[in-house]
């Protein structure tokens, strides 16, 4: 095995190696990005996120984040205070739910009657699709009336005579 042959083989394998390196680099980048996620939100951003998920209790259709009402301001302050005290977003939300009920959440949990509001349209849609399918299937299976003139061709005179003969013979053969 000479040096020229070795070099040739190495050159031949080079594109494959480069592709392999590129793939490995891509996968490594994806893993690093996925593991790192987004940079941690600042406390103000966290307050905003939690407040956006809560209904202002004294407003009509405004979140705590959007409401200028003094009570909403107090709620934002309380959220900030609780975050500083080390409470998680879920714990803070649970605290407000304990005092106000599920209605304080901008997206109430999907259980009970609220769950029905989420799932009923899907059920109705499914029922509609099933009904449409059944109606369509029945319609396709139903025998259709023949269009005028599309029946069997009329018998010729010879055929009619043959039929009459056969009928007469059968009648003669009938006992009694």
């Amino acid at each position: 095995m000479n040096a020229a042959g070795t070099l040739r083989r190495a050159r031949a394998g080079l594109p494959g190696l480069l592709v392999l390196i590129a793939l490995a680099a891509s996968v490594a980048t994806l893993v690093i990005v996925a593991a790192g996620g987004h940079p941690p939100a600042s406390q103000a951003q966290q307050v905003q996120q939690i407040a956006a998920g809560l209904h202002c209790p004294i407003c009509k259709d405004l979140s705590v984040a959007d409401s200028p009402a003094p009570l909403a301001q107090q709620m934002r302050q309380e959220i900030a205070q609780k975050l500083r005290a080390g409470e998680s977003a879920d714990q803070i939300r649970a605290g407000f739910v304990a005092a106000y009920g599920d209605s304080v959440l901008m997206s109430p949990p999907r259980r009970g009657v609220t769950g029905a509001v989420y799932y009923l349209p899907l059920l109705v849609l499914a029922a509609g699709l099933i009904t449409a399918f059944m109606v369509l299937r029945r319609w396709l299976r139903a025998p259709r009336p023949d269009p005028p003139g599309a029946g069997s061709p009329p018998l010729s005179a010879t055929q009619r005579r043959a039929v009459a003969k056969a009928v007469a013979r059968l009648r003669e053969e009938e006992p009694g």
Binding site: V104, L120, L123, T131
Partner: protein, 181 residues
Amino acid sequence: MRVPRRRTLLLAGVATAVAIIVTLLTTGLGKDPSVIASPLVGRVAPNFTLPQLDGPPVTLARLRGQVVVINFWASWCTECQVEQAALDRTWQQFQDSGVVVVGVNFEDSTGAARGYVRTESVTYPVVEDSGSQTALAYGLRGVPETFVVNQSGRIVNRVIGPVDAAALASEINSMLRARAQ
């Protein structure tokens, strides 16, 4: 025979779905979101220690064993003026029977609150909730709102809007009778 049976089932399904939708709409649309029942009713009342306008701070936990009527109010609230006489009457009638009425001033200035107490001749203790933390702990949606706390410290009723003196007296009497038995 299969087809009519299937058709009956289909009709029953559609009728059930329609009935559910109509029930949800009629029950859901008839509700005012502002008068949703408080999840706190039946639970231990959140404790508070708040400064009194004229007197020592009031701590709810120290009133355990007595019926406590906690009334959230503000000087700018016209409905609060409507119920003022009823609350005062309740306090005058029951203060020697183990009942405390506490007015919690909400989103107000100390000066305005003092002025109101003076002009309306409020005789029961009034405390200031300047940070609204107590209001938030009680799930307040506006004023006036009144919570009735029994001798065990549990919230037994929440009244949104002006209280009715007769209804409040009846409720207090039944709690006092139950305690006496």
